[in-house]
């Protein structure tokens, strides 16, 4: 249960954030690309949440403290560089994790086997953009570096053990670090220095402690559903 909630909430919350780009993307082709990723994630979220119970009850009627997503995915979109930094950090993690789950015999093996193909594309999309923004213009280089630095502190949490997710967290972190480092190097950027998690925040999202923007996000997401108790849509 814990595992399905954690992974399901990650996908749900990130999908919601990506959905906020609709109508605001830098170019039409990217409107289509971001929506594809958001829809993949929403599909994953719905399947994962259905392991636990009713998807809409879980999405719309839980309080903030009951959400188990990592804090990384709830961070606001910021500029396109921030969104791509968030995508890179998360999709590399998700890809490695789902590859591992797909080969195992856990209850998510089938789901992970399907999702891993989607996530591989998300990872590629993020890598392509980090390369272009890092090695593009002076302005884009600066923005991309700022974004990588700003979100770095939320990446430590990705490797906190989650009950029911049967992977070697250390190996996951090593693989993630190697992959991210390689992209960052090729993008002529610098891997952020400093701690990978705020001392107060390590692993907090998985325990239900979130950041300020998350409450506002949930208020918007849940308000209509909650305004009509018991209604069907």
């Amino acid at each position: 249960m814990t595992a399905a909630l954690a992974l399901g909430d990650d996908a749900l919350v990130l999908s919601h954030r990506l959905g906020e780009w609709a109508g605001h993307a830098p170019v039409l082709e990217e409107e289509v690309a971001l929506a594809n990723i958001a829809l993949d994630l929403l599909g994953q979220a719905r399947m994962l949440l259905s392991f636990v119970g009713d998807e809409d009850q879980l999405a719309y009627l839980r309080e903030e403290r009951a959400f188990r997503n990592v804090q990384l995915v709830e961070q606001p979109n910021g500029d396109f560089a921030h969104t791509m930094a968030r995508q890179l950090y998360f999709s590399v993690y998700q890809h490695l994790l789902y590859e591992e789950l797909a080969t195992g015999e856990g209850e998510f093996a089938d789901l992970a086997a399907k999702a891993v193909k989607e996530v591989a594309y998300h990872r590629d999309h993020a890598e392509q953009w980090v390369l272009r923004l890092g090695d593009g213009t002076t302005e884009s280089h600066e923005r991309m570096q700022l974004a990588l630095d700003a979100l770095w502190r939320y990446t430590g949490e990705l490797f906190e053990p989650v009950e029911g997710v049967d992977v070697d967290a250390h190996a996951l972190r090593d693989g993630w670090l190697a992959a991210v480092t390689s992209v960052v190097d090729r993008a002529t950027l610098a891997l952020p220095s400093g701690p990978q998690a705020g001392a107060w925040a390590a692993g907090a999202g998985r325990q239900g402690l979130h950041t300020e923007p998350f409450g506002r996000m949930l208020a918007e997401m849940q308000h209509l559903h909650r305004s009509h108790p018991g209604a069907s849509w």
């Binding site: 906020e20 109508g23 605001h24 289509v32 829809l39 272009r132 593009g136």
Partner: protein, 342 residues
């Protein structure tokens, strides 16, 4: 969407310019009269080209501005199923804008140029998107009525005389077939739901009905472009003809929804075999067209802002491509077809 864009420089040279011109015009007219398609590199009258660019640009702009009123509800969609549907629909609209800009580019313009004109207020988009989406039911009303009206307008365009436009419309109509149905289904759920939901649905239909009728454009006797467009087979039915067809389609659909259309004058005309309907407020139409609708400023500002905020991203990707083409040593590498196989 054709592979090669217009080339206006390689015209024939035989005979006097006037004779050649007359010959080409005759060939063009014959092609159109035979219901054959005009393709990008064919000679075409300047006015035909200009008229097509104007119409296709307006159509493309409508698709991308049209994303806004619906995207307004993605973050608040009341179920995950509805959220997925709405995201996919808004995504389609971006895609359709893209198909249409590409089709327009075959006439020798560029997407950048057309977007600049949109942002400068020199080209229009459908006025319907200057109305606000105030409740969730508006998403349903847009799907049912606005997309319904759009489809009534668009289906004949699949046979329009300009090949790239017609082909784009075939793809768009195919993809849009789910748009109207999802809107209708959404409204049906509300209409059959709680009293508050029913009221929300009725309110949305009340607000969207008349603007939807206005989507067919001014009455035939007041339409500036209609006659010529019909002669060129860019357009195949008159504004009033399509509007009437739409009313006939909607009346029974509204009954099945359990909602009423906000027009006391709608009644079946036995003699004509069609519905009569009330007077449209063309003053409102003209006002919204002039920029005085509830959301004109907001829609255009958001579009401009997205474009401006994205400039550094587009520049970065272009700079990266230049650097890497230079590093690869030749421009020729970019010219190789590139393949991906699933």
């Amino acid at each position: 969407m054709a592979a090669v864009t217009a080339d206006q420089t390689t015209q024939g040279t035989a005979g006097t310019a006037d004779e050649a011109e007359a010959g080409r015009l005759a060939a063009f007219d014959a092609t159109v009269a035979a219901d054959d398609r005009i393709e990008p590199r064919d000679w075409m009258p300047d006015a035909y080209r200009a008229s097509l660019i104007r119409q296709m640009a307006q159509h493309a702009h409508s698709e991308i501005i049209g994303m806004q009123p619906e995207a307004n509800w993605i973050s608040r969609a009341p179920s995950l199923r509805r959220k997925a549907i709405l995201m996919a629909k808004v995504q389609d609209e971006a895609g359709h804008g893209l198909y249409l800009y590409s089709a327009a580019e075959t006439l020798g313009t560029s997407r950048e140029e057309l977007l600049d004109k949109l942002h400068a207020g020199r080209q229009r988009y459908s006025s319907i998107f200057n109305y606000p989406t105030l409740t969730w039911a508006d998403v349903g009303a847009i799907g049912w009525l606005v997309d319904g009206a759009a489809i009534t307008n668009q289906v004949p365009l699949c046979r329009c005389s300009y090949g790239p436009y017609a082909r784009a419309m075939v793809r768009i109509c195919k993809e849009e077939s789910f748009h109207q149905r999802q809107g209708y289904e959404l409204l049906l759920a509300l209409s059959r739901g709680t009293p508050a939901q029913h009221e929300m649905a009725q309110d949305a239909v009340n607000r969207w009905w008349w603007p939807s009728l206005m989507m067919f454009g001014p009455p035939d006797d007041a339409s500036a472009h209609s006659a010529q467009s019909m002669a060129w087979r860019i357009k195949r039915h008159s504004n009033d003809e399509l509007r009437r067809r739409f009313v006939d389609i909607c009346v029974p659909q509204a009954q099945a929804l359990g909602l009423t259309l906000p027009d006391p004058d709608i009644r079946w005309n036995e003699e004509l075999g069609q519905h009569d309907y009330g007077e449209i407020d063309w003053t409102e139409f003209q006002e919204v067209l002039k920029g005085n609708g509830p959301c004109n400023e907001q829609r255009l500002t958001q579009r401009r802002t997205a474009h401006e905020n994205g400039a550094w991203v587009r520049e970065a990707a272009a700079a990266y491509a230049d650097k890497h083409a230079a590093r690869a040593g030749t421009a020729g590498t970019a010219a190789q077809p590139v393949e991906a196989t699933a």
